[in-house]
Protein backbone atom coordinates (compact mmCIF):
# COMPACT_ATOMS: atom_id res chain seq x y z
CA UNK A 1 0.00 0.00 0.00
CA UNK A 2 2.86 2.33 0.88
CA UNK A 3 4.23 1.71 -2.60
CA UNK A 4 0.93 2.87 -4.11
CA UNK A 5 0.99 5.99 -1.93
CA UNK A 6 4.52 6.52 -3.10
CA UNK A 7 3.29 6.42 -6.70
CA UNK A 8 0.55 8.92 -5.88
CA UNK A 9 3.14 11.20 -4.28
CA UNK A 10 5.45 10.95 -7.30
CA UNK A 11 2.46 11.68 -9.50
CA UNK A 12 1.67 14.80 -7.49
CA UNK A 13 5.26 16.01 -7.62
CA UNK A 14 5.71 15.41 -11.34
CA UNK A 15 2.44 17.16 -12.17
CA UNK A 16 3.84 20.47 -11.04
CA UNK A 17 7.37 20.10 -12.31
CA UNK A 18 8.62 23.65 -12.16
CA UNK A 19 7.41 24.35 -8.66
CA UNK A 20 8.66 20.99 -7.40
CA UNK A 21 12.10 21.62 -8.80
CA UNK A 22 12.27 25.10 -7.36
CA UNK A 23 11.34 23.64 -3.99
CA UNK A 24 13.88 20.85 -4.33
CA UNK A 25 16.62 23.33 -5.28
CA UNK A 26 16.21 24.91 -1.85
CA UNK A 27 17.03 21.59 -0.22
CA UNK A 28 19.84 20.91 -2.69
CA UNK A 29 21.56 24.16 -1.72
CA UNK A 30 21.17 23.47 1.99
CA UNK A 31 22.45 19.90 1.87
CA UNK A 32 25.22 20.69 -0.64
CA UNK A 33 26.58 23.46 1.57
CA UNK A 34 26.47 21.30 4.68
CA UNK A 35 28.20 18.38 2.94
CA UNK A 36 30.80 20.64 1.29
CA UNK A 37 31.61 22.50 4.50
CA UNK A 38 31.89 19.34 6.59
CA UNK A 39 34.04 17.58 3.96
CA UNK A 40 36.29 20.60 3.64
CA UNK A 41 36.80 20.99 7.36
CA UNK A 42 37.44 17.26 7.71
CA UNK A 43 39.94 17.60 4.87
CA UNK A 44 41.55 20.53 6.63
CA UNK A 45 41.83 18.48 9.79
CA UNK A 46 43.45 15.62 7.88
CA UNK A 47 45.89 17.94 6.19
CA UNK A 48 46.91 19.63 9.41
CA UNK A 49 47.36 16.29 11.13
CA UNK A 50 49.52 15.12 8.26
CA UNK A 51 51.59 18.28 8.36
CA UNK A 52 52.30 17.79 12.00
CA UNK A 53 53.14 14.18 11.49
CA UNK A 54 55.70 15.23 8.92
CA UNK A 55 57.06 17.74 11.38
CA UNK A 56 57.69 14.91 13.78
CA UNK A 57 56.11 14.18 17.11
CA UNK A 58 59.46 13.90 18.88
CA UNK A 59 60.20 17.61 18.61
CA UNK A 60 59.71 20.52 20.96
CA UNK A 61 59.40 24.05 19.67
CA UNK A 62 60.56 27.07 21.64
CA UNK A 63 59.48 30.49 20.48
CA UNK A 64 59.19 33.99 21.85
CA UNK A 65 55.74 34.63 23.29
CA UNK A 66 55.10 37.18 20.57
CA UNK A 67 56.27 35.00 17.71
CA UNK A 68 53.35 34.58 15.37
CA UNK A 69 55.09 32.88 12.47
CA UNK A 70 57.87 33.83 10.12
CA UNK A 71 58.12 37.49 9.24
CA UNK A 72 56.42 38.78 12.36
CA UNK A 73 58.13 41.09 14.73
CA UNK A 74 59.64 38.81 17.30
CA UNK A 75 61.54 39.83 20.32
CA UNK A 76 62.82 37.76 23.10
CA UNK A 77 64.83 34.74 22.03
CA UNK A 78 68.57 35.06 21.58
CA UNK A 79 71.66 32.89 21.25
CA UNK A 80 71.71 32.75 25.04
CA UNK A 81 68.45 30.83 25.08
CA UNK A 82 69.88 28.39 22.55
CA UNK A 83 72.68 27.65 25.01
CA UNK A 84 70.08 27.12 27.77
CA UNK A 85 68.11 24.64 25.64
CA UNK A 86 71.32 22.78 24.82
CA UNK A 87 71.86 22.15 28.53
CA UNK A 88 68.98 19.70 28.62
CA UNK A 89 70.52 16.28 28.13
CA UNK A 90 67.45 14.61 26.64
CA UNK A 91 67.83 16.60 23.41
CA UNK A 92 69.56 14.94 20.50
CA UNK A 93 69.54 18.01 18.27
CA UNK A 94 68.91 21.66 19.08
CA UNK A 95 68.42 23.80 15.98
CA UNK A 96 67.83 27.58 16.21
CA UNK A 97 66.08 29.31 13.32
CA UNK A 98 65.37 32.81 12.22
CA UNK A 99 62.98 33.77 9.47
CA UNK A 100 62.32 36.96 7.53
CA UNK A 101 61.02 37.85 4.11
CA UNK A 102 63.90 38.68 1.80
CA UNK A 103 64.26 40.08 -1.66
CA UNK A 104 65.18 37.32 -4.05
CA UNK A 105 66.24 37.91 -7.66
CA UNK A 106 66.43 35.34 -10.42
CA UNK A 107 66.96 36.14 -14.10
CA UNK A 108 65.83 39.73 -13.68
CA UNK A 109 62.65 38.85 -11.73
CA UNK A 110 62.37 39.73 -8.09
CA UNK A 111 60.17 38.19 -5.35
CA UNK A 112 59.87 38.25 -1.57
CA UNK A 113 59.71 34.75 -0.12
CA UNK A 114 60.49 33.83 3.49
CA UNK A 115 64.17 33.18 4.12
CA UNK A 116 65.03 30.78 6.91
CA UNK A 117 68.42 30.94 8.60
CA UNK A 118 69.50 27.75 10.35
CA UNK A 119 72.71 26.10 11.46
CA UNK A 120 73.68 23.78 8.61
CA UNK A 121 74.67 20.72 10.62
CA UNK A 122 71.76 20.83 13.10
CA UNK A 123 69.14 21.66 10.45
CA UNK A 124 70.34 18.76 8.33
CA UNK A 125 70.01 16.39 11.30
CA UNK A 126 66.60 17.72 12.17
CA UNK A 127 65.32 17.40 8.61
CA UNK A 128 66.92 14.00 8.01
CA UNK A 129 63.79 11.99 8.79
CA UNK A 130 61.04 14.49 7.98
CA UNK A 131 61.97 16.66 5.02
CA UNK A 132 63.53 14.79 2.19
CA UNK A 133 65.34 16.37 -0.70
CA UNK A 134 64.18 16.06 -4.24
CA UNK A 135 67.59 16.99 -5.60
CA UNK A 136 71.00 18.02 -4.28
CA UNK A 137 72.10 18.00 -0.64
CA UNK A 138 71.38 19.52 2.75
CA UNK A 139 73.46 22.50 3.92
CA UNK A 140 76.69 21.45 5.57
CA UNK A 141 79.32 22.94 7.83
CA UNK A 142 81.39 25.42 5.89
CA UNK A 143 78.57 26.45 3.52
CA UNK A 144 78.25 30.20 3.28
CA UNK A 145 76.41 31.60 0.28
CA UNK A 146 74.52 28.38 -0.38
CA UNK A 147 70.76 27.82 -0.28
CA UNK A 148 68.13 25.07 -0.28
CA UNK A 149 64.84 25.91 -1.93
CA UNK A 150 61.36 24.66 -1.16
CA UNK A 151 59.86 22.90 -4.16
CA UNK A 152 57.45 25.74 -4.86
CA UNK A 153 60.19 28.35 -4.52
CA UNK A 154 62.14 26.44 -7.15
CA UNK A 155 59.35 25.57 -9.56
CA UNK A 156 56.59 28.13 -9.29
CA UNK A 157 57.84 31.28 -7.66
CA UNK A 158 59.70 32.54 -10.71
CA UNK A 159 58.69 32.32 -14.34
CA UNK A 160 61.75 30.21 -15.02
CA UNK A 161 62.36 27.13 -12.89
CA UNK A 162 65.40 27.29 -10.65
CA UNK A 163 67.63 24.22 -10.86
CA UNK A 164 70.50 22.85 -8.81
CA UNK A 165 73.66 24.93 -9.11
CA UNK A 166 71.76 27.95 -10.48
CA UNK A 167 72.61 31.28 -8.90
CA UNK A 168 70.06 33.47 -7.17
CA UNK A 169 70.46 36.83 -5.42
CA UNK A 170 69.18 37.25 -1.86
CA UNK A 171 69.26 40.82 -0.59
CA UNK A 172 71.71 41.57 -3.36
CA UNK A 173 74.17 38.79 -2.54
CA UNK A 174 74.70 35.87 -4.88
CA UNK A 175 73.81 32.38 -3.59
CA UNK A 176 74.28 28.95 -5.13
CA UNK A 177 71.34 26.54 -5.01
CA UNK A 178 72.67 23.28 -3.55
CA UNK A 179 69.40 21.46 -2.82
CA UNK A 180 65.66 21.41 -3.48
CA UNK A 181 63.20 20.00 -0.93
CA UNK A 182 60.41 17.67 -1.84
CA UNK A 183 56.96 19.20 -1.62
CA UNK A 184 55.42 19.04 1.87
CA UNK A 185 52.03 20.47 0.95
CA UNK A 186 51.91 23.81 2.70
CA UNK A 187 52.63 26.88 0.76
CA UNK A 188 54.63 28.60 3.49
CA UNK A 189 57.26 25.87 3.81
CA UNK A 190 57.26 25.00 0.12
CA UNK A 191 57.92 28.61 -0.88
CA UNK A 192 60.69 29.21 1.65
CA UNK A 193 64.44 29.38 1.09
CA UNK A 194 66.90 28.07 3.70
CA UNK A 195 70.40 29.50 4.13
CA UNK A 196 73.08 29.12 6.83
CA UNK A 197 72.36 31.05 10.04
CA UNK A 198 75.63 33.00 10.02
CA UNK A 199 75.06 34.14 6.46
CA UNK A 200 71.50 35.13 7.41
CA UNK A 201 72.78 37.29 10.29
CA UNK A 202 75.25 38.92 7.99
CA UNK A 203 72.86 39.89 5.19
CA UNK A 204 69.89 40.75 7.42
CA UNK A 205 72.02 42.31 10.21
CA UNK A 206 69.79 40.53 12.73
CA UNK A 207 72.30 40.40 15.60
CA UNK A 208 71.92 37.48 17.97
CA UNK A 209 68.15 37.37 17.64
CA UNK A 210 66.53 33.93 17.21
CA UNK A 211 62.91 33.36 16.12
CA UNK A 212 62.41 29.79 17.24
CA UNK A 213 64.33 26.80 18.40
CA UNK A 214 63.37 23.34 17.24
CA UNK A 215 64.74 20.55 19.44
CA UNK A 216 64.49 16.82 18.89
CA UNK A 217 64.45 14.54 21.92
CA UNK A 218 66.45 11.35 22.19
CA UNK A 219 64.46 8.17 21.59
CA UNK A 220 62.60 6.98 24.69
CA UNK A 221 62.42 10.38 26.39
CA UNK A 222 59.24 11.46 28.09
CA UNK A 223 58.32 14.53 26.02
CA UNK A 224 55.93 16.24 28.49
CA UNK A 225 58.56 15.92 31.22
CA UNK A 226 61.29 17.33 29.02
CA UNK A 227 58.95 20.14 28.11
CA UNK A 228 58.35 21.01 31.78
CA UNK A 229 62.04 20.79 32.60
CA UNK A 230 62.88 23.13 29.74
CA UNK A 231 60.20 25.61 30.77
CA UNK A 232 61.61 25.75 34.32
CA UNK A 233 65.17 26.15 33.11
CA UNK A 234 64.31 28.92 30.64
CA UNK A 235 62.31 30.74 33.29
CA UNK A 236 65.26 30.52 35.69
CA UNK A 237 67.82 31.74 33.21
CA UNK A 238 65.75 34.48 31.62
CA UNK A 239 63.84 35.67 34.65
CA UNK A 240 60.64 36.07 32.60
CA UNK A 241 57.97 33.96 30.96
CA UNK A 242 58.08 35.68 27.63
CA UNK A 243 58.47 32.43 25.72
CA UNK A 244 56.45 29.40 24.63
CA UNK A 245 57.49 25.77 24.79
CA UNK A 246 55.11 23.61 22.81
CA UNK A 247 55.01 20.16 21.30
CA UNK A 248 53.44 19.42 17.92
CA UNK A 249 50.72 17.41 19.68
CA UNK A 250 49.77 20.47 21.69
CA UNK A 251 49.66 22.71 18.65
CA UNK A 252 47.58 20.14 16.84
CA UNK A 253 45.14 20.05 19.74
CA UNK A 254 44.85 23.82 19.81
CA UNK A 255 44.31 24.02 16.08
CA UNK A 256 41.73 21.25 16.21
CA UNK A 257 39.89 23.15 18.89
CA UNK A 258 39.79 26.33 16.84
CA UNK A 259 38.89 24.31 13.79
CA UNK A 260 36.05 22.71 15.71
CA UNK A 261 34.57 26.09 16.49
CA UNK A 262 34.98 27.27 12.90
CA UNK A 263 33.35 24.04 11.74
CA UNK A 264 30.41 24.50 14.08
CA UNK A 265 29.87 28.06 12.88
CA UNK A 266 30.07 27.06 9.20
CA UNK A 267 27.74 24.11 9.63
CA UNK A 268 25.39 26.38 11.57
CA UNK A 269 25.28 28.78 8.65
CA UNK A 270 24.70 25.91 6.24
CA UNK A 271 21.94 24.62 8.50
CA UNK A 272 20.18 27.95 8.14
CA UNK A 273 20.03 27.43 4.40
CA UNK A 274 18.58 23.99 5.02
CA UNK A 275 15.92 25.49 7.26
CA UNK A 276 15.11 27.95 4.48
CA UNK A 277 14.87 24.98 2.11
CA UNK A 278 12.53 23.27 4.56
CA UNK A 279 10.31 26.33 4.70
CA UNK A 280 10.27 26.19 0.90
CA UNK A 281 8.95 22.64 1.08
CA UNK A 282 6.37 23.68 3.65
CA UNK A 283 5.21 26.54 1.47
CA UNK A 284 5.01 24.31 -1.57
CA UNK A 285 3.09 21.68 0.37
CA UNK A 286 0.58 24.21 1.65
CA UNK A 287 -0.01 25.38 -1.91
CA UNK A 288 -0.31 21.80 -3.00
CA UNK A 289 -2.90 21.07 -0.31
CA UNK A 290 -4.84 24.14 -1.34
CA UNK A 291 -4.69 23.22 -5.02
CA UNK A 292 -5.79 19.70 -4.39
CA UNK A 293 -8.45 20.41 -1.83
CA UNK A 294 -11.06 19.01 -4.16
CA UNK A 295 -8.99 15.89 -4.88
CA UNK A 296 -8.64 15.37 -1.15
CA UNK A 297 -12.41 15.60 -0.83
CA UNK A 298 -12.80 13.06 -3.64
CA UNK A 299 -10.32 10.69 -2.03
CA UNK A 300 -12.18 10.93 1.24
CA UNK A 301 -15.48 10.32 -0.55
CA UNK A 302 -14.13 7.10 -2.02
CA UNK A 303 -12.90 5.81 1.30
CA UNK A 304 -9.56 7.45 2.17
CA UNK A 305 -9.05 7.73 5.92
CA UNK A 306 -7.51 10.84 7.48
CA UNK A 307 -4.37 8.80 8.04
CA UNK A 308 -4.22 7.81 4.35
CA UNK A 309 -4.27 11.47 3.32
CA UNK A 310 -1.64 12.27 5.96
CA UNK A 311 0.61 9.50 4.64
CA UNK A 312 0.26 10.54 1.00
CA UNK A 313 1.27 14.13 1.76
CA UNK A 314 4.07 13.17 4.14
CA UNK A 315 5.53 10.80 1.57
CA UNK A 316 5.34 13.61 -0.95
CA UNK A 317 7.25 16.09 1.21
CA UNK A 318 9.72 13.45 2.41
CA UNK A 319 10.32 12.50 -1.20
CA UNK A 320 11.07 16.09 -2.19
CA UNK A 321 13.53 16.28 0.69
CA UNK A 322 15.11 12.99 -0.34
CA UNK A 323 15.49 13.96 -4.00
CA UNK A 324 16.97 17.27 -2.87
CA UNK A 325 19.27 15.23 -0.62
CA UNK A 326 20.54 13.07 -3.47
CA UNK A 327 21.42 16.04 -5.64
CA UNK A 328 22.70 18.01 -2.65
CA UNK A 329 25.02 15.24 -1.53
CA UNK A 330 26.40 14.77 -5.04
CA UNK A 331 26.82 18.51 -5.57
CA UNK A 332 28.36 19.05 -2.12
CA UNK A 333 30.82 16.20 -2.61
CA UNK A 334 31.84 17.40 -6.07
CA UNK A 335 32.18 20.94 -4.75
CA UNK A 336 34.43 19.91 -1.86
CA UNK A 337 36.54 17.65 -4.09
CA UNK A 338 36.88 20.54 -6.54
CA UNK A 339 37.90 23.01 -3.85
CA UNK A 340 40.33 20.44 -2.41
CA UNK A 341 41.87 19.94 -5.84
CA UNK A 342 42.11 23.67 -6.41
CA UNK A 343 43.69 24.29 -3.01
CA UNK A 344 46.20 21.51 -3.54
CA UNK A 345 47.16 22.94 -6.92
CA UNK A 346 47.51 26.36 -5.34
CA UNK A 347 50.01 24.95 -2.86
CA UNK A 348 47.83 24.08 0.12
CA UNK A 349 47.44 20.34 0.32
CA UNK A 350 43.79 19.76 1.25
CA UNK A 351 42.99 16.08 1.64
CA UNK A 352 39.27 15.95 0.80
CA UNK A 353 38.03 12.39 0.62
CA UNK A 354 34.67 10.87 -0.28
CA UNK A 355 33.00 10.04 2.99
CA UNK A 356 30.13 7.52 2.59
CA UNK A 357 28.95 8.03 6.16
CA UNK A 358 28.66 11.76 5.65
CA UNK A 359 26.77 11.16 2.38
CA UNK A 360 24.29 8.83 4.06
CA UNK A 361 23.87 11.33 6.87
CA UNK A 362 23.14 14.04 4.29
CA UNK A 363 20.48 11.92 2.58
CA UNK A 364 18.84 10.96 5.82
CA UNK A 365 18.92 14.54 7.05
CA UNK A 366 17.31 15.83 3.84
CA UNK A 367 14.57 13.21 4.07
CA UNK A 368 13.84 14.09 7.69
CA UNK A 369 13.84 17.81 6.85
CA UNK A 370 11.30 17.08 4.12
CA UNK A 371 9.07 15.06 6.46
CA UNK A 372 9.20 17.68 9.20
CA UNK A 373 8.35 20.45 6.74
CA UNK A 374 5.43 18.39 5.49
CA UNK A 375 3.87 17.62 8.87
CA UNK A 376 1.74 20.75 9.21
CA UNK A 377 0.43 20.91 5.63
CA UNK A 378 -0.23 17.16 5.58
CA UNK A 379 -2.09 17.33 8.87
CA UNK A 380 -4.17 20.17 7.53
CA UNK A 381 -4.97 18.16 4.41
CA UNK A 382 -5.98 15.14 6.47
CA UNK A 383 -8.36 17.18 8.59
CA UNK A 384 -10.26 18.74 5.69
CA UNK A 385 -14.00 18.26 5.84
CA UNK A 386 -14.93 16.18 2.76
CA UNK A 387 -18.11 18.13 2.04
CA UNK A 388 -16.32 21.47 2.10
CA UNK A 389 -13.38 20.04 0.18
CA UNK A 390 -15.69 18.76 -2.56
CA UNK A 391 -17.31 22.16 -2.84
CA UNK A 392 -13.88 23.78 -3.34
CA UNK A 393 -13.28 25.11 -6.85
Amino acid sequence: MILEYFKLAVNNITHRKVRSWLTIIGIIIGIASIIALISLSLGLQNSIAEQFESFGSDKILVSAATFQGPGSLSIGLTEKDVETVKKIQEFKVVAPFIAKPGSVEYKGESKFPIIFGGQPKESAELFADTRTLEKGRYLKEGDHYDAILGSRAAKKLFKKEIRINNKIKINGKEFKVVGIFEEVGNQQDDSAISIPLDTFKEIFKSGDQIDFISAQVKPGSNIPEVQKKLERLLKDKRGDENFNVVTPTQILEQISQVLGIVQAVLVGIAAISLVVGGIGIMNSMYTSVLERTRDIGVMKAIGAKDSDILKIFLIESGLMGFVGGIFGVVLGTLLSLGIGQYATEAGFKLLVTINPQLMLFGLFFAFIAGIISGVLPAYRASQLNPVEALRHE
Partner: protein, 223 residues
Protein backbone atom coordinates in the same frame (compact mmCIF):
# COMPACT_ATOMS: atom_id res chain seq x y z
CA UNK B 1 -36.98 -6.65 2.84
CA UNK B 2 -33.54 -5.73 4.09
CA UNK B 3 -33.14 -2.04 4.81
CA UNK B 4 -29.87 -0.57 3.51
CA UNK B 5 -30.51 3.02 4.49
CA UNK B 6 -32.50 4.43 7.40
CA UNK B 7 -32.72 8.09 8.32
CA UNK B 8 -34.42 8.81 11.65
CA UNK B 9 -35.47 12.38 12.29
CA UNK B 10 -32.31 13.79 10.74
CA UNK B 11 -31.63 17.48 11.26
CA UNK B 12 -28.72 19.43 9.90
CA UNK B 13 -27.85 23.04 10.51
CA UNK B 14 -24.84 25.03 9.38
CA UNK B 15 -23.26 28.07 10.84
CA UNK B 16 -22.70 30.38 7.89
CA UNK B 17 -21.02 33.63 9.01
CA UNK B 18 -22.76 33.43 12.40
CA UNK B 19 -26.16 32.82 10.81
CA UNK B 20 -27.63 29.42 11.57
CA UNK B 21 -28.96 27.83 8.38
CA UNK B 22 -31.25 24.86 8.83
CA UNK B 23 -30.74 22.62 5.83
CA UNK B 24 -32.68 19.62 7.11
CA UNK B 25 -35.48 19.99 9.63
CA UNK B 26 -36.04 16.39 10.57
CA UNK B 27 -36.43 13.89 7.77
CA UNK B 28 -36.99 10.18 8.12
CA UNK B 29 -37.12 7.52 5.38
CA UNK B 30 -35.92 4.06 4.60
CA UNK B 31 -34.53 2.53 1.46
CA UNK B 32 -34.67 -1.20 0.88
CA UNK B 33 -32.02 -3.26 -0.77
CA UNK B 34 -32.24 -3.15 -4.56
CA UNK B 35 -34.48 -0.08 -4.73
CA UNK B 36 -34.12 2.69 -7.29
CA UNK B 37 -34.99 5.99 -5.64
CA UNK B 38 -35.03 9.47 -7.11
CA UNK B 39 -34.58 12.37 -4.72
CA UNK B 40 -36.08 15.54 -6.06
CA UNK B 41 -36.57 19.04 -4.89
CA UNK B 42 -35.82 22.67 -5.82
CA UNK B 43 -32.38 24.20 -5.33
CA UNK B 44 -31.66 24.83 -1.68
CA UNK B 45 -34.27 22.34 -0.55
CA UNK B 46 -31.66 20.31 1.32
CA UNK B 47 -31.56 17.32 -1.04
CA UNK B 48 -27.79 17.54 -1.52
CA UNK B 49 -27.29 17.74 2.22
CA UNK B 50 -29.47 14.65 2.62
CA UNK B 51 -27.33 12.92 0.01
CA UNK B 52 -24.11 13.83 1.83
CA UNK B 53 -25.50 12.51 5.09
CA UNK B 54 -26.66 9.26 3.51
CA UNK B 55 -23.20 8.91 1.98
CA UNK B 56 -21.64 9.54 5.42
CA UNK B 57 -19.64 12.46 4.01
CA UNK B 58 -21.29 14.58 6.65
CA UNK B 59 -22.87 13.86 10.01
CA UNK B 60 -26.32 15.08 11.10
CA UNK B 61 -26.66 17.67 13.84
CA UNK B 62 -29.46 15.55 15.29
CA UNK B 63 -31.00 12.19 14.50
CA UNK B 64 -29.57 8.85 13.47
CA UNK B 65 -28.38 7.39 10.20
CA UNK B 66 -28.04 3.66 9.58
CA UNK B 67 -26.22 2.10 6.67
CA UNK B 68 -27.25 -1.53 6.68
CA UNK B 69 -27.41 -1.95 10.45
CA UNK B 70 -24.59 0.36 11.43
CA UNK B 71 -25.34 3.69 13.09
CA UNK B 72 -22.76 5.90 11.44
CA UNK B 73 -23.29 8.73 13.92
CA UNK B 74 -21.56 6.52 16.49
CA UNK B 75 -18.51 5.63 14.41
CA UNK B 76 -15.02 7.10 14.54
CA UNK B 77 -13.70 9.18 11.64
CA UNK B 78 -11.59 6.41 10.23
CA UNK B 79 -14.30 3.78 10.62
CA UNK B 80 -16.73 6.01 8.76
CA UNK B 81 -14.16 6.41 5.98
CA UNK B 82 -13.70 2.66 5.85
CA UNK B 83 -17.45 2.03 5.72
CA UNK B 84 -17.97 4.74 3.12
CA UNK B 85 -15.29 3.26 0.90
CA UNK B 86 -16.78 -0.22 1.15
CA UNK B 87 -20.54 0.39 1.10
CA UNK B 88 -21.09 3.61 -0.87
CA UNK B 89 -20.18 4.55 -4.41
CA UNK B 90 -20.45 8.25 -5.28
CA UNK B 91 -21.20 9.69 -8.68
CA UNK B 92 -21.00 13.48 -8.89
CA UNK B 93 -22.34 16.03 -11.31
CA UNK B 94 -18.81 17.27 -11.98
CA UNK B 95 -17.37 13.73 -12.22
CA UNK B 96 -14.63 14.53 -9.66
CA UNK B 97 -11.94 12.35 -11.16
CA UNK B 98 -8.34 12.98 -10.06
CA UNK B 99 -7.03 14.83 -13.12
CA UNK B 100 -3.43 13.65 -12.80
CA UNK B 101 -4.34 9.95 -12.70
CA UNK B 102 -5.33 7.78 -15.68
CA UNK B 103 -8.81 6.29 -15.99
CA UNK B 104 -7.46 2.96 -14.75
CA UNK B 105 -5.72 4.56 -11.75
CA UNK B 106 -8.84 6.51 -10.87
CA UNK B 107 -10.85 3.31 -10.81
CA UNK B 108 -8.19 1.52 -8.75
CA UNK B 109 -8.02 4.25 -6.11
CA UNK B 110 -11.02 3.17 -3.94
CA UNK B 111 -9.62 -0.37 -3.76
CA UNK B 112 -6.24 1.02 -2.73
CA UNK B 113 -7.81 2.59 0.35
CA UNK B 114 -9.38 -0.76 1.24
CA UNK B 115 -5.98 -2.41 1.05
CA UNK B 116 -6.91 -5.13 -1.43
CA UNK B 117 -4.52 -7.35 -3.32
CA UNK B 118 -2.76 -5.27 -5.93
CA UNK B 119 -3.02 -7.56 -8.96
CA UNK B 120 -6.67 -8.18 -8.20
CA UNK B 121 -7.20 -4.41 -7.99
CA UNK B 122 -5.88 -3.88 -11.48
CA UNK B 123 -7.80 -6.79 -12.92
CA UNK B 124 -11.01 -5.59 -11.35
CA UNK B 125 -10.48 -2.01 -12.51
CA UNK B 126 -10.00 -3.26 -16.07
CA UNK B 127 -13.18 -5.33 -15.87
CA UNK B 128 -15.15 -2.35 -14.57
CA UNK B 129 -13.88 -0.08 -17.32
CA UNK B 130 -14.86 -2.73 -19.84
CA UNK B 131 -18.30 -2.87 -18.23
CA UNK B 132 -18.81 0.86 -18.84
CA UNK B 133 -17.45 0.49 -22.37
CA UNK B 134 -14.09 2.20 -21.87
CA UNK B 135 -11.68 -0.70 -22.38
CA UNK B 136 -9.88 1.39 -25.03
CA UNK B 137 -9.49 4.48 -22.87
CA UNK B 138 -7.92 3.00 -19.75
CA UNK B 139 -4.62 4.84 -19.97
CA UNK B 140 -6.10 8.22 -20.79
CA UNK B 141 -6.09 11.09 -18.33
CA UNK B 142 -9.51 12.61 -17.51
CA UNK B 143 -8.83 15.83 -19.47
CA UNK B 144 -8.39 13.66 -22.57
CA UNK B 145 -11.87 12.16 -22.20
CA UNK B 146 -15.30 13.53 -23.13
CA UNK B 147 -17.84 14.36 -20.43
CA UNK B 148 -19.78 11.16 -20.97
CA UNK B 149 -16.60 9.11 -20.87
CA UNK B 150 -15.53 10.80 -17.65
CA UNK B 151 -18.84 10.01 -16.03
CA UNK B 152 -18.46 6.39 -17.13
CA UNK B 153 -15.04 6.30 -15.45
CA UNK B 154 -16.68 7.75 -12.33
CA UNK B 155 -19.33 5.01 -12.43
CA UNK B 156 -16.64 2.35 -12.77
CA UNK B 157 -14.86 3.94 -9.81
CA UNK B 158 -18.08 3.95 -7.78
CA UNK B 159 -18.40 0.21 -8.39
CA UNK B 160 -14.82 -0.62 -7.44
CA UNK B 161 -15.55 -1.98 -3.97
CA UNK B 162 -18.88 -3.62 -4.85
CA UNK B 163 -20.89 -1.09 -2.86
CA UNK B 164 -24.39 -1.70 -1.50
CA UNK B 165 -25.45 1.77 -2.49
CA UNK B 166 -24.75 4.02 -5.45
CA UNK B 167 -25.35 7.71 -4.73
CA UNK B 168 -25.56 9.81 -7.86
CA UNK B 169 -25.81 13.55 -7.35
CA UNK B 170 -27.16 15.12 -10.57
CA UNK B 171 -25.14 12.62 -12.65
CA UNK B 172 -26.39 14.02 -15.96
CA UNK B 173 -26.28 17.69 -15.02
CA UNK B 174 -23.15 18.37 -17.06
CA UNK B 175 -23.99 16.16 -20.01
CA UNK B 176 -26.07 16.54 -23.17
CA UNK B 177 -29.38 14.67 -23.16
CA UNK B 178 -28.20 11.78 -25.33
CA UNK B 179 -25.10 11.09 -23.24
CA UNK B 180 -27.12 11.70 -20.09
CA UNK B 181 -29.62 9.10 -21.22
CA UNK B 182 -26.84 6.57 -21.70
CA UNK B 183 -25.55 7.24 -18.22
CA UNK B 184 -29.02 6.78 -16.73
CA UNK B 185 -29.42 3.51 -18.67
CA UNK B 186 -26.14 2.34 -17.18
CA UNK B 187 -27.35 3.17 -13.67
CA UNK B 188 -30.65 1.36 -14.33
CA UNK B 189 -28.73 -1.71 -15.47
CA UNK B 190 -26.71 -1.68 -12.28
CA UNK B 191 -29.92 -1.45 -10.31
CA UNK B 192 -31.31 -4.46 -12.18
CA UNK B 193 -28.27 -6.41 -11.05
CA UNK B 194 -29.21 -5.67 -7.44
CA UNK B 195 -27.38 -2.50 -6.45
CA UNK B 196 -29.40 0.06 -4.54
CA UNK B 197 -29.33 3.33 -6.49
CA UNK B 198 -30.25 6.81 -5.27
CA UNK B 199 -30.29 9.58 -7.85
CA UNK B 200 -30.60 13.23 -6.93
CA UNK B 201 -32.08 15.02 -9.92
CA UNK B 202 -34.08 17.93 -11.23
CA UNK B 203 -35.13 16.01 -14.28
CA UNK B 204 -38.71 14.71 -14.23
CA UNK B 205 -37.96 12.24 -17.03
CA UNK B 206 -35.25 10.63 -15.01
CA UNK B 207 -37.39 10.62 -11.88
CA UNK B 208 -40.21 8.92 -13.74
CA UNK B 209 -37.98 5.95 -14.45
CA UNK B 210 -37.40 5.43 -10.73
CA UNK B 211 -39.78 3.21 -8.82
CA UNK B 212 -39.98 5.69 -5.99
CA UNK B 213 -39.56 9.46 -5.72
CA UNK B 214 -38.73 11.27 -2.49
CA UNK B 215 -39.29 15.01 -2.73
CA UNK B 216 -37.58 17.30 -0.27
CA UNK B 217 -38.79 20.83 0.27
CA UNK B 218 -37.49 23.29 2.90
CA UNK B 219 -35.59 20.57 4.68
CA UNK B 220 -38.61 18.31 5.03
CA UNK B 221 -40.02 15.45 3.03
CA UNK B 222 -42.94 16.72 0.96
CA UNK B 223 -45.96 14.44 1.08
Amino acid sequence: MQKVIQLQNVKKSYNLDNVIVNALNGISFEVNKGELVAIMGPSGSGKSTAMQIIGSLDLPTEGRVFIEDVDITKLSHSNIAQLRGKKVGFIFQTFNLIPSLTALENVTLPMLFQDLNKTKQKQKAKELLALVGLQDRMDHLPPELSGGQRQRVAIARALANDPEIILADEPTGNLDSKTGGEIINLLLELNKKGTTVLIVTHDQNIAKRAKRIITIRDGLIAK
